[in-house]
């Protein structure tokens, strides 16, 4: 019900991001989405890709501070207001979203997020008939 995201702790310094992408390129990993949260000193780079477990090993062996995070991925109609509708369901149940991002792939809107209460979030998604996206679904849309 969740998918694997690579989370990478990076120093805010010239060349550090490039190193990550070069390692993934050399390992022939296909990226699906990337986003970065940054501060003055460091950043957390988040990556969805076709083979997260293998990519994780590659980065780890390259000495990168990388974690595999379980994140929710749901598919939304590509229409105005759908994200607001979805998020309001979590907000009304008092669930905090620690980070969120979205992208469109194969004409479909994909919302990725992580919450402080995964069990409750899963329940809300099921009760409201939202559509989970599996890793294989994403790869198929590439």
């Amino acid at each position: 019900m969740t998918i694997n995201q690579l989370s990478i702790f990076l120093e805010n310094k010239k060349g550090t991001m490039l190193q990550v992408f070069q390692l993934l390129k050399q390992a022939n990993v296909q990226l699906i989405a990337t986003t970065i949260a940054d501060t003055v000193d460091y950043g957390i780079l988040r990556i969805l890709c076709d083979e997260p477990s293998r990519a994780y090993q590659v980065l780890k062996e390259g000495g990168i501070a990388v974690a595999l995070s379980d994140v929710f991925a749901i598919e939304l109609d590509n229409k105005v207001g759908r994200a607001a509708d979805a998020i309001s369901l979590f907000a009304s149940e008092g669930i905090s979203i620690s980070y969120l991002y979205s992208f469109i792939i194969g004409g479909k809107g994909i919302l990725i997020f992580r919450t402080d209460n995964a069990d409750k979030a899963r329940e809300i998604i099921i009760l409201n008939n939202m559509k989970f996206v599996a890793e294989s679904d994403l790869s198929a849309l590439l």
Partner: protein, 436 residues
Amino acid sequence: MIWNPNKECMSRDEMSALQGRRLHKIVAYVYHNVPFYRNKLQEMDVTPDDINTIEDIRKLPFTTKQDLRDNYPFGLQAAPQSEIIRIHASSGTTGNPTIVGYTRKDIGVWSECMSRCLTAYGVTRDDTFSVAYGYGLFTGGLGAHYGVENLGASVVPTSTGNTEKHVRLIRDLGISGIACTPSYALYLAETMEKMGITKEQIKLRVGAFGAEPWTESMREEIQKRLGLKGYNLYGLSEIMGPCVSYECSEQNGSHICEDHFYPEIIHPDTLEPLPYGQVGELVFTTLTKEGMPLLRYRTKDLCSLMDDTCPCGRTSVRMGRIMGRSDDMLIIRGINVFPSQVESVVLSMPEFAPRYLLIIDRINNLDTLQVQVEVRQEYFTQEMDNLGAIERLEKKLADKLKSVLSISAKVQLKPPGTIERSQGKSKFVIDKRVLK
């Protein structure tokens, strides 16, 4: 095993008597051969005949690093140049380097004391021992080297640098002992892990670590990653080099070769001798040295001395861990801060690697302290994948530092491997303050 039970297990009374005789002799020797000491003693109205017991040492003047610099290069040398068979020099980053000449007898004493250290660590003739201190002007490499040869073990003079080759030699030659700085030991462990070599594939069992301050947590870390037992080895080039004191199997303080190097602890400001157990500045008098004997040399190292009996059987006085250096002490916003305090906090938290950097600056006339630490790779898990979690960990460390240091520090977490490694003495502090 004990290398020289006659000296290492001497009764306290016999030791004092021996030290008294040797002190008289060395004072007479410098009085007649070193104008610097003759002038000082005459100014204080002291002659060699006034020095008969070891307690008389309090009548003698101190010697400082500055005295060595002022008398560069050979002003404090007592033996004629024809008797000197080796010359070492300490790094001169803050002025003239310190030049130390050794006679053949000095090299013999050095090798003897180094053999005592190695034997206390459990090294025997059957060991293959890698000396990974720098060979050259620094006393570490050659000092340890001669000790291993004197003991009869096989010495592998690896020196520093080319760490991958070193790791291969450790594995292929079945090297069982190593002498290096503790930070180089950690670097070696990292290199080994990167090369995919596990501690089960090597035979290292003894490490002689010294030449920079280290802590118990660092010892545990090195022992765990290299699969050896790590012992403290203390020395300084002005007095001899590595061999001045060493830990035994008890690992509770380092036994001083006090038949050759007489220790005192003094208050760094009043210069008054302090009793056993109290922390102050360590002072050594060389009792037998010919090349460059020193009276009451102030090491700037802060520690305490212990005279209780050690279960290992040695009777010599032991020195506790070096707590810092009197000249390493940082004064930040008027508070005394020792880098070792920061280190103990960092090492007490499993989240962090034993690497840290202190950056001190002065912004708008206010001192600032920044502490950079590396998060361990295995600790960066999905619970840490957001800025909030990282900030919470920063705050946790900042709170602990505040309670230990009494001043606030800005903590900056760094990804693993991003704080610069050095192969020699680690540089833990950058002071950017421009003081007028």
